[in-house]
Symmetry: C2
Subunit: 297 residues, 2 copies
């Protein structure tokens, strides 16, 4: 389940409610594009902003539309008991796996983080993806902490943040992780602009944020990368350099939201306030890049 292209759709918000109709359409689109798995309620799916009932409805809609494609559900929350409740809901709805980031308000110690994963994995019946996203959680995992958590029961994969520094840096990082993780734990790269390098460096999966909205464009990179066709994969990724620049500037969520609005997949604005969509020149530039790169087909 934790190999290939794992696509993370937006959860469109309209008048402060989840637009389940538009959301179902996003899932259909991922199934049609041949996604290897669907990541509901990732950071791109605004999980942290939604309440329990909203998250339950999103999981149910995902599974209804997934047509058998494996569904991974984000269960992160600030308090352990909230995470446990969300895990139970996801499992009851039929999720194939869950994904957990150590969301923080007070800075978490390594012991806090370890304790969170211990408490949650003790209650699971499906595999868990450890979600390492320092940009949103402000938690930095040491290799030692990764190793401890990856040996807990039910841990099936690790979603790692982008690796800057090119192919050599990516290889080094993946090797360092492999050296401490159990063999059965898969590694998935995130940071779409860094994904080709990550897959070529030996990652098993690509957890894609933009691929939740423009899956075909990401498949065009993932396919050669997963087949080890280095030059083709890097060329396909480099072709989208203007898109990666936009992500570096605005973050993938706001770029994905603008793309989805431009493509007519969701109503604008689709993000939960206080998050504002891109406006003015920033919005126009996303539209221009989408047209230039042929991302609107």
């Amino acid at each position: 389940m934790f190999t290939g292209l794992s696509t993370f759709p937006l959860t469109p918000i309209r008048d402060d409610r989840v637009d389940l109709g538009a959301y179902g359409g996003l899932i259909d689109r991922l199934v049609d594009a041949g996604a290897d798995s669907i990541g509901a309620l990732g950071s791109t799916g605004s999980y942290a902003y939604l309440d329990r009932a909203e998250r339950r409805a999103v999981v149910e809609t995902t599974i209804e539309h997934a047509a058998g494609v494996p569904v991974i559900v984000g269960i992160g929350a600030l308090r352990t008991s909230q995470v446990l409740a969300l895990a139970a809901d996801a499992q009851a709805a039929g999720a194939d796996a869950v994904m957990l980031a150590p969301v923080s308000y007070q800075a978490l110690t390594p012991d806090d983080v370890a304790g969170l994963y211990e408490d949650v994995t003790a209650e699971l019946s499906v595999p868990l993806v450890v979600y390492d996203n320092p940009a949103t959680t402000h938690v930095t995992f040491s290799l030692e902490l990764h190793a401890h958590i990856a040996h807990l029961p039910h841990v099936g994969a690790l979603k790692i943040p982008p690796i800057a520094g090119g192919a050599d840096a990516a290889r080094e990082r993946v090797q360092a992780l492999r050296a401490v993780l159990p063999e059965h734990v898969r590694i998935g790269i995130s940071g779409d602009g860094f994904a080709a390098a990550g897959l070529l460096a030996g990652c098993d999966a690509w957890f894609t944020a933009l691929g939740g909205t423009i899956p075909q464009a990401m498949t065009a990179i993932a396919r050669p990368a997963l087949e080890g066709r280095t030059a083709d994969a890097l060329a396909a990724s480099d072709r989208l350099a203007p898109l990666w620049d936009l992500v570096a500037e605005h973050g993938s969520l706001r770029v994905a939201a603008t793309l989805a609005e431009h493509l007519g997949l969701v109503e604008a604005p689709c993000l939960p306030r206080p998050l504002l969509g891109l406006r003015g020149g920033d919005r126009e530039r996303v539209r221009d890049v989408a047209e230039e790169l042929g991302l609107t087909g």
Copy 2:
């Protein structure tokens, strides 16, 4: 209302539920110590970890026990509509003021932050404290953003983070803020080890984390500082240097929790998981410092 010593109690958690009995006792203690105001559901009160019903119960208990001392209620949450609901609850319960930090998961832009305060102040009937806490929100306010927000209706005070660099740095920072804030907006310092310098530099209030648990010790600093007795205030603060060192190492929440447990004010462990209390040698050191400094009386 936004002058003097504003004390922020813990919200003790026992078996994953708010211990309202112990909490009421903490409020009684603050009233007895002559606190100028009580800050319910601050960062020290673990507001970010509690659900709406828990927060409503905490506000009601605070007001029941406050004996007329003004009550400021933290209303921060990730989503604007959640903040609005919490503001309505706090006002309905009789809060004298509310306090709002721009809690983040996705990094917030200055426009997001401004929009949050615009949306919330438009619905308020009580004064609002702008809560600038980069350590937990990861938002950095520019002077321009502070000025914009402070001019919104109902903004009554600004809670600023600790100012490192001593008396001169504190004076400079306070003057820079005064230059852009409307005259009626009060400035409150936080970071207990920096509070004497902050008050002497012209802050109107001290929003104290440890003072929610050991109010007398903080009053001994606040009184001379508010009367402009520089040497006495600094000496009273310097006397607690070992305590400030513990706060620098572990954060004020974990130190306050350990003190409250040691004093028998709350059952241990009192923090919401995944936050773990201090353990082993760290715990012993807090106890030793409390005994040495006479904080247990």
